[in-house]
Subunit: 169 residues, 2 copies
């Protein structure tokens, strides 16, 4: 076993297998932004400020692992859109659990509420009002204080209320 | 901003803040094992096979960030027990979300069920029977097939049904 290598092959566990796919640096932030509707390379780049070669490698790995699908961008010939697959969308409870844990303040910097119930989700993406775990397209997110947060062109557009997965463009 | 450094300081988001604490390699596997009742350095080491210096650094960081607390081991003078704090236990929905996502097969290699309802938890740790998110001490975990999985002395003891957080010793 290569310790501190690229895998956790000695660990027969779902968590280790998840981390082999989404545990690399930046990967979960890319997945988060895909939930927020980011689909274009340049839009991921504007928000994450990650080197283009790193972003490119991470997107490729996510496509290879079936988390994102790559389709031609109808508005920009030769470019691609990256969209969460069904398998990728299944990461929502984990992603929300981590967003929520890192936002213990009240209100959190960004809220995520079940559109139908109007209720802020509890950790793991469960709706305290109806007891269900709404799929991402039934979740509305917005910045609690739109005057705060990053001010790149993508983040500015993500300040207002929007449904998850709704394309940014 | 140091890109690919040790922080995501340009990212004003709960997810980035979580990853600054639990996004380092091995850290979430240590937290997982703490949920499974592992408390001693040598027991973490037996199961993770991580170099002692790495394990030591990760445990120290988790204590510094208030995820684990370090208390004297009553059975081994001079040694310590590491236990999840309330803040650490709040990671359960995220940890379960990642375990669940990495275990798409049916049955998963390890099950996690709400003891009262007897029902396998859905992603994010929600109980489909009662609609609640049971706290970890109400969750029973076991290997689906006890003849499989790692065979180190700690993993062998984790094959049988046990409540989360119940100390291994």
């Amino acid at each position: 076993m290569v310790v501190l290598g690229n895998d956790y092959s000695g660990q027969d566990c779902g968590l280790a297998r998840s981390l082999e796919i989404v545990g690399e640096r930046w990967t979960l932030l890319i997945v988060r932004d895909a939930f927020y509707g980011v689909q274009r390379f340049n839009d991921f780049q504007a928000r994450l400020e990650v080197p283009r070669a790193v972003l490119s490698a991470r997107l490729r790995a996510l496509v290879d692992h079936g988390v994102l699908e790559r389709v031609p961008d109808p508005e920009h010939g030769g470019r691609s859109l990256y969209r969460l697959t069904e398998r990728g969308r299944a990461l929502w409870p984990a992603v929300h659990g981590l967003i929520s844990w890192g936002s213990p303040e009240d209100p959190p910097p960004r809220t995520h509420r079940h559109e139908r119930c109007g209720t802020e989700l509890a950790a793991g993406g469960v709706c305290p009002a109806c007891g269900g775990t709404p799929p991402p397209h039934e979740v509305v997110t917005e910045r609690s204080d739109p005057s705060r947060g990053r001010d790149d062109r993508v983040s500015v557009r993500l300040r207002e209320p929007r449904r998850l997965l709704e394309p940014l463009s």
